[in-house]
């Protein structure tokens, strides 16, 4: 999986906001925010071709969480990124 071109994460007053830019995103008008965990995964996988295992690795390194729960969470997170048009 990959984050599509033209999405960048910014921290604004403590909020993790994804901005969209580029020709590909002229009509992308949504403002999307990520919570801390999602931002942690995002920063670990941005710019790479990533798998669920990469996301799990990122959050288990940062948070006390078992692999099974982390895997379920990451799968859910990836699906939400796909649904929002952020990843493919």
């Amino acid at each position: 999986m990959k984050i599509k071109k033209g999405f960048e994460l910014r921290s604004i007053c403590g909020e993790n906001i994804i901005i969209s830019l580029g020709k590909e995103n002229i009509n992308f008008t949504k403002v999307i925010t990520l919570n801390e965990t999602a931002a942690c995964v995002w920063n670990a996988v941005i710019g790479t071709d990533f798998t669920v295992a990469d996301g799990v690795k990122a959050i288990t390194a940062e948070y006390e969480i078992d692999d099974a729960t982390a895997t379920a969470d990451v799968e859910k997170l990836y699906q939400s990124w796909v649904d929002a048009g952020l990843a493919e």
Binding site: R10, I12, C13, G14, E15, I17, I19, S20, L21, G22, K23, N25, I26, T29, V31, T33
Partner: protein, 295 residues
């Protein structure tokens, strides 16, 4: 050939009238921003725009898109070297001007077309774009807003066309003593030495309000029409979603867009933003005034 210098929101720019057809009578709204060459020498130039009807379109390049801006159309094309060509048509679909600008909009050329009013429209449009797109990486944005001033602070009403920005500010003028209108459509907003500041500009939509004035910003007010009056502070995310679309910005242009995001971020960090559902009446402006001035 005649060279004119202007200073808007502390940025100096130069307009060269290269032919015998066009002159500064086309832009009377810029007059109060005019400065002499001697004064201009001390300042770095934001951009130089050459007005010359004899220049012709370059190879069109890649079409970025056709953008509607309050009835007029902007056809935007980008050439391989990153430079731009923009064709602007007026509300009647008549081509009013052709603009060519380098990638960072520090140098531009414009050819005007048609009647005096079409030329005025075309040149002001070209100047707005040159200004907005050259200043965006200098903590400066050109915003779509109506701005009122009270007790030395500027308050910006935001919202898409038709949401009642001008109605709201005109009701401040009517019902709240000691207020004045700084600009009714396109003020310049900058963060200077850490202070969010709003400036009048030569561009003000249909209201002739072209004033060389400035004030620290007291608040942003996102307006929405409703059958009642209600105001509240916006969250950071809401503030971002209100402010960014209110700025003149080229989403496809990395330099311009990220510079604008930086400025919006700096504004959100410094100035409270509010969301208000409102009626066009006195109660609404007493409410917005009391809420915003208390902060």
């Amino acid at each position: 050939m005649k060279e004119n210098y202007y200073k808007v929101a502390h940025h100096t720019y130069k307009v060269i009238f290269a032919d015998d057809i066009n002159n500064d009578e086309l832009i009377p709204s810029s007059k109060v921003f005019n400065i002499d060459e001697e004064t201009a020498k001390d300042n770095p130039l934001l951009f130089t725009l050459t007005v010359d009807d004899s220049f012709r379109p370059a190879k069109k390049g890649e079409e970025i898109g056709q953008f509607d801006c309050g009835g007029c159309n902007h056809g935007v094309y980008q050439l391989e070297d990153g430079s731009y060509q923009i064709l602007v048509s007026d509300e009647c679909g008549r081509q009013a001007c052709l603009i060519q600008a380098n990638a960072d909009f520090s140098e531009g050329k414009v050819a005007l077309n048609g009647t005096y009013s079409m030329r005025t429209f075309g040149l002001n449009n070209a100047l707005m774009m040159m200004y907005a797109f050259s200043a965006s990486d200098k903590n400066t944005v050109l915003m779509h807003a109506s701005v009122i001033r009270k007790d030395g602070r500027g308050y910006l009403c935001l919202g898409v066309s038709g949401t009642g920005k001008s109605t709201h500010t005109s009701n401040w003028l009517k019902y709240i003593e000691g207020t004045d209108l700084m600009n009714d459509d396109n003020p310049v907003v900058r963060v200077i030495d850490g202070v969010a500041t709003v400036f009048g500009s030569p561009w003000s939509g249909k209201t002739p309000c072209y004033r060389n004035v400035e004030a620290p910003i007291g608040g942003f007010l996102q307006l929405k029409q409703a059958p009642f009056n209600k105001i509240r502070r916006q969250t950071v995310i809401e503030a971002f979603a209100s402010l960014l679309p209110s700025c003149s910005v080229m989403k496809w242009d990395r330099r311009d867009y990220l510079g604008t995001c930086d400025t919006v971020q700096a504004l959100i960090e410094r100035v409270p933003t509010y969301f208000m559902e409102n009626l066009p009446n006195e109660e609404a402006v007493q409410m917005s005034y009391a809420t915003m001035s208390a902060n």
